[in-house]
Amino acid sequence: MAPRWKWKGAEAKALAEPISKSVTELQLSLSKTESSGTLSSSNVLLAVEPEQAELLDRCCFGRLVLSAEKAKKWIQLSFEEAFFLFYSLKCIKISLKGRYLEDEVDTWTYMKSKRPNFPIFYKAYSHLRSKNWVLRSGLQYGVDFVAYRHHPSLVHSEYSVLVQSGDSDRLIVWSDIHCAVRLSGSVAKTLLTLYVNGYFKGEDLNLPVCLENFTVEEQTISRWSPQLSREDETTNSKPNVTPLLSNLKNL
């Protein structure tokens, strides 16, 4: 599926301002101000300056928390987004209950304790983010993430993403496949599964370095319609009695 740019000139704008460039700018800015996020049971709250909020928006990290405060902006980050800024980009600090979590393992352990599937989801998230794809929550489409080629204001997302792993209980029966593919198709996206390979037992997951031992396999699942693919003369695409009989004449 080719990228669907939202307006004329959007593609040119995207080319002129690649995501990677915005991310680097963001990284530098946050490091300089030693920005710090507060960890809670479901997200990380980051206080930033207005220009930084703008940069975060440009790279699609987090959601702005509306407030009357002018000098400071509050951004709510998901665990994946926060850990990416903290561990991969190394541009924010994380604090819990007023104390900085200097050791990455502490943040990892905390996030893992709140969401047991966090390690696998993070691997999938960072896999695509490292390729400069933009990932947002896929909840409203019934999936884990949606992947954009650039900022959502410029382009429609191409992929709806489901994360799978060895002991995964996703896409187990045929109706799961039908459901996920139909949902994706109805919003003009291709279903993409990210299969995370690795050992997920006990101690293996204790350190974020376990991420280095995981690999991610990408796979698309799509449905093919026999009616629409024929190169023959009959253009009637709805199956009913007439094409059946007219086909007989062609045999």
């Binding site: 080319l15 045929w174 799961d176 698309t220 449905r223 024929r230 023959d232 199956p239 009695v241 062609n250």
Partner: protein, 257 residues
């Protein structure tokens, strides 16, 4: 600065963009049924139990350019081909011993008992695609062969030609497949409707129809089949008269600028 919700602001995010295919796959139209009658002077074939195939004795119509395999100048058809042609009134099948007509009931029983390498699910997909004009052959069986006799066809992907078939690149995989360790099987080579189709040079199929049974194929099964087969794979799922075809494609999203 208001919160910008880029997803919600564009209503076209939810446009379908694709034709509504709710009714696409119901090939039982329910109401009126086609009135099929045996063509006067339809083709005739004789069932050979040991082979699980029918040997064609009388050919009528152009359908034989896209049905049946040729061995030593004779045409043979598999159970699914025989059953389909019988259903649409194009073929009468006679018993090996005498000229007693083998009924649809007998053929359906054969399929239900999977006696000749075809199960009901395979047959439903075969019939569905044939009725849309596609050309189907059993995977691993060549359409023609110069000098081979037929060996017993089975549900497995054995070649019935005399070594002129492309060699299996991975013989261990073939052994495992024959042992049916894997749940997913490649069943039909499918070609787009083509009035110029030639059995002597069919070219590569448009795709190979695979079945994984009760559940979707596992990652490993897909890998094994993909290593063995160059053509695109479609996994078929048919239930309650609804046929769906899914492709599982390995990709590698590009690194963006």
């Amino acid at each position: 600065m208001e919160e910008k919700d880029w997803e919600a602001s564009s209503s076209s995010e939810n446009e379908a963009g694709f034709p509504n295919d709710d009714d696409d796959d119901e090939f039982h139209s329910g109401g009126s049924e086609p009135r099929l009658q045996f063509r006067v002077g339809s083709s005739k074939a004789r069932w050979i139990a040991e082979l699980g195939m029918a040997e064609v004795e009388v050919k009528r119509g152009k359908l034989w350019t896209t049905t049946g395999i040729i061995r030593s100048g004779k045409t043979y058809c598999f159970i699914e081909e025989a059953l389909y042609l019988s259903e649409i009134g194009e073929l009468q099948i006679l018993g090996s011993e005498d000229d007693v007509v083998i009924t649809l009931k007998d053929l359906y029983e054969n399929i239900a008992e999977e006696k000749s390498g075809c199960c009901w699910e395979n047959y439903e997909v075969y019939r569905y695609l044939k009725s849309l004009g596609y050309i189907l052959g059993r995977h691993g069986v060549s359409w023609t062969s110069k000098n081979a006799a037929i060996s017993t066809p089975s549900g497995q992907e054995e070649s019935v030609c005399s070594g002129e078939c492309p060699q299996e690149k991975d013989t261990i995989t073939q052994l495992l497949v024959d042992m049916q360790i894997f749940d997913a099987k490649a069943v039909y080579d499918v070609y787009l409707p083509n009035s110029r189709f030639k059995k002597s040079s069919p070219n590569e199929p448009s795709f190979v129809a695979c079945f994984s049974g009760d559940s979707p194929p596992s990652k490993e099964d897909i890998k094994v089949l993909r290593n063995r087969i160059a053509a695109p794979l479609m996994f078929c799922h048919i239930a309650q008269g609804r046929a769906s075809f899914f492709s599982f494609s390995s990709i590698d999203l590009p690194v963006l600028p």
